[in-house]
């Protein structure tokens, strides 16, 4: 296990180091699919240059990173490339996520009907999952370009990975701290609070029942740790520059979307063509859209908090205000964990073809609009829409497959109709 992982790490680091040395690095760090106004490396350098000129980086509208990033890169400026590669490597420590699967196997073994044994994964299959997860993340072209562009979403991904790792291990304090750090960087990981709480409750065998005091006790403990760490981080940021300027510059920017630079998300063109009168209304609708799937999903998936984490991360990556391909690669890295659902997926061929085609068309249509002048913004916008639809289809397909497997695990795999013939399952 260690040898293939080490080989994988060496290959990944070699690819990144090789790309850093070529002129492609400059080209990639300018691409709008890879960097956004929130996490571009050029803007980090600009913020630090403004700090050198004794001007607050938040006095202009160029720098939208949190003050922690200023702290970090003030010292690591020369080692930036190594920092980003290290963040990617740390992600692969997620192989420990496989631990939970072994637990699940033990829990479920006595509940299922006999003919579903083929649905349960054998330990030999699960042995290779961590390696596959690491491979899916490190060798994913999206991750590679994101790292070469020195986009700070690589750091965000590493923090979320550490959060998931500490949740799996059962350490509530670390989980709360990393979640606070992830929420501090961009607001959206706030929704991951609920699945983390559900997982920790499940681990401690506390039933999720609003009438039980143990539930409330644990919930309040966890929330207190989370909010406390968040408060500490915000106060530390205040003391860095001595002002609260960073709050509107970071969080106000994420929520109010003033910058309409094109990216792979849905917000930019929508708000470029929005009537001023309705701007605030649609802004609220789009931002609520990211958060409001939490409650229904957590009610439906309360026994499966790990899948809930995957769903939440995917929904954030699709519907956030400034998505980049780095956010995509985060949830795509988790797909090998659910490769036992492959037999129930319905649209996987279509989705993968559409994603490949869109990834190829993004740079082409950008070039035609911005450089050749022979296309206009509608072409790029259309590919953005298609890319989002493909991702939504992917996520809902995995959700369908997961629910269907659960149904089979409780009701048996080969179902029969009343007259004894083979049945078809539908959603009613």
């Amino acid at each position: 296990m260690a040898a293939p992982l080490a080989l994988l790490l060496i290959v990944a680091v070699t690819i990144r180091a090789a790309l850093f040395r070529t002129s492609l690095a400059n080209l990639i760090s300018e691409r709008v699919e890879v960097v956004s106004p929130l996490n571009a490396w050029k803007r980090v350098v600009e913020g630090l240059a403004l700090l050198d000129l004794d001007i607050s980086p938040y006095s202009g509208d160029v720098f939208h990173e949190t003050p922690m990033v200023i702290y970090l890169f003030h010292f690591l400026m020369d080692y930036a490339e190594i920092t980003f590669m290290g963040a990617g490597v740390k992600f692969s420590s997620l192989h420990l996520v496989s631990q939970f699967r072994k637990q699940k196997f033990a829990l479920e073994a006595d509940r299922i009907p006999m003919d579903c044994l083929e649905l349960i994964r054998s330990p030999t299959e699960m042995y290779y999952i961590p390696l596959k997860v690491a491979m899916f993340y490190l060798l994913n072209p999206f991750t590679i370009v994101s790292c070469v562009a020195k986009c700070t979403c690589g750091l965000n991904n590493a923090v979320i990975a550490l959060f998931i790792l500490s949740t799996m291990r059962g350490s509530a304090l670390l989980s709360a701290i990393f979640l606070a750090l992830a929420t501090y960087q961009s607001i959206y990981p706030l929704t991951l609070c609920v699945p983390a709480l559900l997982y920790l409750l499940q681990r401690l065998y506390i039933p999720v029942n609003v009438r039980r005091s143990s539930f409330w006790f644990y919930t309040l403990q966890y929330l207190f740790m989370f909010l406390g760490s968040l408060l500490v981080l915000i106060c530390l940021s205040f003391f860095l520059l001595g002002s609260w300027d960073f709050l509107p510059a970071v969080y106000g920017f994420i929520l109010s979307v003033p910058d309409l630079t094109p990216n792979i998300g849905l917000f930019w063109y929508f708000f470029a063509e929005m009537f001023d009168h309705f701007r605030l209304f649609f802004l609220c609708v789009f931002q609520i859209n990211v958060f409001f799937y939490t409650l229904p999903l957590s009610i439906k998936l309360k026994e499966h908090p790990v899948f809930l984490i995957f769903m939440q991360i995917a929904l954030i990556a699709i519907f956030k205000s400034y998505p980049t391909v780095g956010d995509l690669s985060l949830y795509m890295a988790f797909l090998p964990v659910w490769n036992h659902l492959y037999r129930f997926l319905r649209n996987i061929f279509l989705v993968s073809c559409v994603l490949l085609a869109c990834s190829a068309l993004f740079p082409v249509l950008w070039h035609l609009w911005i450089y050749a002048g022979s296309a206009n913004s509608n072409f790029y916008y259309a590919i953005t829409l298609l890319f989002s639809v493909a991702q939504i289809l992917l996520v809902s397909d995995y959700f369908y497959a997961f629910l269907r497997r659960e149904h089979h695990l409780t009701n048996g795999l080969y179902l029969k109709k009343k007259d004894g013939s083979e049945a078809t399952l539908v959603l009613k």
Partner: protein, 567 residues
């Protein structure tokens, strides 16, 4: 008895003299032939208003000073006002230096008195009022194109203000100058356009020129040598360059009639002095008629020039025909023009609509002297400058500015302001480069012709340029040694302002016909997401039992009545 009467008349005359108002009006025209064959005419009308603003007097008496401007100055507590409207770009390398430089479009900068509490609000009202007075769209001046320079625009009148929060500067590079701007400008003159030099200001000829600039400068000046009282000075200037080739005629010959289609008949009766100067430093090349015995020498812009003077207050200038029409006829080709010492260019580099670079080139043509210049650039917010990419290089080597004042822009609120103090090495080109990124604006923020592009106002370069001609370190004149060790000629350096070209940059545009379609399509994608998740959340898996046919269902209903088992 006789002595008593004499004393009485003397005191009476003295009393009359005290009551005489001290408003003063002077007009002059300078004609300077340029080396490229064109001719440059510069009008200056100077009205001095005997009103003291440093004190607390309320002013209500207007004699020569225009009432509209006077009311504006008193109401908005303006200390200095400089406004110019220019059509065309001054070609420094072909024409030399102008007497009063101005950038293309409209430029307005104002110093307010320190009694003003809300400078931004007063600035907004002032621009709207001036827009009405000059029939120009100065109401487009708002916080997105107004800056507060920290070093470049020091007051030109008296007063040692150092608080730059009372200074505002704005340019409108897209502003066009036409007859509608000239007419209210002429109305501010005491003689209007009826007498004096202003009869020459006819728009059909004035706008048929390569360069046309009209300006109004108001500033406080001293009334007496001790400067115990101050008065307001209004200078109205009009600079125009007539092109040799577009004015017809092959040979090089200029006259007042050819330039303005009018001749001078009388001086303005309200003027205390009315003169026409013709630059005859290159006299062997051309002949000037009618000849005049009056000659003056002056050091202008670092160069010693000789002028023939026509005094219009003297009846003799007009001759027997009662009209004055100067004629300049060239006989020989011109020699070398004195190369301007400070010169600059600016352009946008790069390709595509995503990013670009602004390059500013500043030339120092002085053979052995280096001097510092202040560069002011105000870039609109939709071109996002990256200050870490700022490079300044002279002669291929890095040249760090000794003073940088940078104010980053805020989207839709204020522009970028970059001011730098650069040291220019002698005989060199200094290149200032900065990268920018183009923003995508909301569809309502584009002008009706978005593919024309967006203008970036001219950069301003202010410098004290050491002059070549007046500096004379190797003098052989008969002077005592103790006075000639340090170079201390009065005309050793002169203040100059150079404006670069305005830039025109294209921004990426969204499709303006698509707002409804975009809203529908994006909401459809969000609805697809919502719909699929809603289905999966609210529905459960069930075995699909096909519903029985119609016959069977009716049979089942009957069977239920009969109490018999169903099909």
């Amino acid at each position: 008895m006789a002595i008593r009467r004499l004393k009485h008349t003397r005191t009476h005359a003295h009393a009359c003299m005290l009551q005489t108002p001290l408003d003063d009006f002077q007009e002059e025209l300078v004609i300077r032939p340029l080396h490229s064959g064109d001719i440059y005419a510069s009008f200056q009308f100077r009205t001095v208003w005997d009103a003291d603003f440093m004190g607390d007097q309320k002013v209500s008496h207007y004699r020569l000073f225009p009432k509209s401007l006077g009311q504006v100055i008193t109401k908005f507590s303006v200390r200095e006002l400089h406004i110019s409207f220019t059509q065309g770009y001054w070609r420094t390398m072909q024409w030399g230096q102008p007497y009063l430089p101005s950038p293309p479009g409209a430029e307005l900068w104002v110093w307010f008195q320190d009694t003003v509490t809300d400078v931004d609000g007063t600035w907004k009202e002032l621009t709207n009022v001036l827009s009405g007075i000059f029939c120009a769209s100065l109401n487009f001046i708002d916080s997105t194109n107004t800056v507060q320079p920290s070093a470049s625009f020091k007051p030109l009148g008296i007063g040692n203000v150092t608080d730059h929060s009372f200074l505002r500067y704005a340019t409108l590079p897209r502003e066009i100058v036409c007859t509608e701007n000239l007419t209210p400008w002429k109305k501010l003159l005491p003689c209007g356009s009826k007498a004096g030099l202003s009869v020459l200001l006819k728009s059909e000829k004035l706008f048929h020129s390569t360069f046309h600039s009209q300006a109004v400068h108001v500033r406080p000046v001293c009334q007496d040598p001790q400067c115990r009282t101050t008065s307001m000075e209004l200078r109205q200037t009009l600079n125009v360059v007539f092109d040799l080739h577009t004015s017809g005629q092959g040979k090089r010959e200029w006259s007042l009639f050819k330039m303005f289609s009018r001749t001078l008949t009388e001086a303005c009766p309200l003027a205390s002095s009315s003169k026409v100067y013709v630059d005859v430093t290159d006299n062997p090349q051309f002949e000037l008629s009618p000849a005049t015995p009056l000659l003056t020498q002056a050091v202008v812009l670092g160069d010693r020039r000789t002028y023939s003077v026509y005094d219009l207050t003297q009846q003799a200038s007009f001759g027997s025909s009662r009209s004055l029409n100067m004629l300049l006829r060239w006989k020989a080709a011109d020699g070398e023009m004195l190369r301007p010492l400070l010169h600059s260019e600016r352009y946008v580099a790069g390709y595509g609509l995503q990013a670009g670079e602004i390059h500013t080139l500043i030339y120092n043509h002085h053979p052995y002297r280096a001097f510092p210049v202040l560069l002011l650039s105000a870039v609109p917010w939709y071109l996002r400058l990256y200050i870490h990419t700022l490079t300044v290089s002279s002669k291929g080597k890095d040249n760090r500015p000794s003073y940088i004042h940078y104010q980053p822009s805020k989207d839709r609120e204020r522009p970028h302001l970059l001011e730098m103090l650069l040291q220019l090495p002698p005989n060199s080109v200094t290149e200032v480069t900065v990268e920018f990124e183009r923003a995508l604006l909301k569809w309502t923020e584009y002008t009706p012709d978005p593919n024309h592009g967006f203008y970036v106002g001219s950069s301003v370069i202010s410098a004290l340029v050491p002059s070549v001609v007046a500096m004379d370190t190797n003098s052989t004149l008969d002077r005592p040694l103790f006075s000639s060790f340090f170079p201390c000629k009065e005309e050793a350096s002169y203040f100059m302002r150079v404006y670069t070209e305005p830039l025109l940059v294209n921004l990426p545009t969204p499709d303006f016909s698509m707002p409804y379609n975009v809203i529908c399509l994006t909401c459809t994608v969000v609805a697809v997401g919502y719909g699929s998740l809603y289905n999966l959340l609210t529905r459960t898996f069930q075995v699909d039992e096909p519903s029985p046919g119609l016959a069977k269902r009716i049979a089942n209903v009957i069977r239920r009545f009969r109490g018999v088992p169903l099909l």
